[in-house]
Amino acid sequence: MNNVYVAGVDMIKFGRFPNRSVPDLGADAVHGALDDCGLNIKDMQAMYCGNLMQANAMIGQRILQQVGQTGIPVVNCANACATGATAFREAWIAIKAGLYDIVLAVGVEQMGKGLLGGAQAQQGIPREGLLGSSTMPAVFAEAGMEHSNLYGTTFEQFARVSVKNHHHSTMNPKAMYQVETPLETVMNAEMISYPNTKLMCSVNVDGAAAAVLMSECKAKELELIARSVKIRASVLTSDPWQERDLVMPDVNSCTQKAATEAYEMAGLGPEDIDLIELHDCFATAEILHYGNLGLCKPEDAGKLIDEGHTSLGGRIPVNVSGGLLSKGHPLGATGIANIYEITTQLRGEAGTRQVEDARLGMTHVIGLGSACAIHILEKSA
């Protein structure tokens, strides 16, 4: 089998860097990932670059113009919030296909502040607040309220996700925030779109992350295999047709489909996974994905957070990095930042937030529209 490994990976500390450019941030992440495995830009045989907001601006090439113009093929890709994970997966495919041995994947984004939402009407009148809402907080609030309708999930249970993820990020120096937010603080924060308060919405930040992917042969030849993590599954799905698609962008069925395929590809089940970085773009979303990823039955998702099973030290820690809620969510960088967190954990290098004896980890992202990417990574034997 042509196994593929993550040999080097890094992310910059997420934050707001208005005086730096997207290629600047991407270049920092590339240097970090190269240094992590002791390689040079000249060793890279291809590059896949994920960036959403400037998808037509040749960001990958502009990063190489900063770190080394070696003439390798560069593919720029955009896939909403699954952009970084998609770039990573394309790098995996290229090695799987046997075309290359060492491929660079980068995700980078610079974000403005404020609400994200659908495009406004080009003609006629604006429909926001007239025919309901299409802001992201409202869309994910409605997805959460669907869960409430079907399973009785409460505002307090959704809020506990934020308490947990903010707590986790106090142990992550690369997260945007290192601040505890008790339950009352989360629930009493400004209500943006019920049941999501301001502290239950992901943070718009600038960020970049990069990974060096390598074939097994090459990782052995370069004696990098010991610190490398094996990619056991890489799956990408789009949204299968659902009855309420046209008014409720669906993040559930594409995740369920991706999870099923990823477990099958890796030949294991949810009970084998030691930790997960999943797409908590809003606190409501994390609860949905507990069921979607098979961590519990959908009706038990509220109980899973109540009983602390998804906290560090629990049965299946989720978002020990702080997640999108507190680490931050630079759209195109998020998917590779998740890979950074899982790889760091599987190497046993995560410091105070280390998940004990972590052997298998999962990353999950959703791009609304929709795209879902899941990767399962395994510690080197």
Binding site: G132, S193, P195
Partner: protein
């Protein structure tokens, strides 16, 4: 544009010259999936050229909602963004009116009815006024 002179705020809201406004669905002749907005191919089963239009019901039940307290600049808040399953098929999003925008007052499965009214006075660049639809709690009386 009907007698009122108002334009439709969205393509699936139809305003006949004679008669009441209604929401129009497109239904697949093969699998009966219901869509909003004109289309020729079914994205559920892939069948082509088998769509027919259907007048959607003016009644339905509340499936999900959010009370929106922060929106884009210039949009008045709070309001209730509601997802409604219409009786007989079709799911539509719109503002729920006639209820205080407090989650305590809003019940899943509550019966609602469609009402058609001026689009909150919003005008396009040429000063034209529009007709929109809203949901309100439905009582049998």
């Amino acid at each position: 544009m009907g007698e009122s002179g108002l334009r439709s705020a969205i393509d699936y809201l139809k305003i006949p010259d004679d008669g009441s406004p209604y929401l129009e669905g497109y239904v697949c002749g093969n699998c009966e999936a219901v869509f909003l907005g004109k289309r020729t191919t079914c994205s559920r089963c892939g069948t082509r050229d088998s769509m027919h239009t259907k007048v959607l019901a003016n009644t339905g039940t509340l499936y999900a909602f959010s009370v929106v307290y922060r929106s884009y600049p210039g949009i008045e808040v709070p309001y209730i963004s509601a997802i409604v399953d219409l009786d007989g098929g079709g799911t539509v999003k719109g503002n729920l009116i006639g209820v205080e925008p407090d989650p305590q007052n809003i019940k899943f499965g509550m019966p609602v009815q469609l009402v058609f009214a001026d689009a909150l006075g919003r005008k396009d660049q040429n000063g034209n006024l529009y007709l929109a639809y809203f949901f309100q709690p439905h009582t049998d009386s």
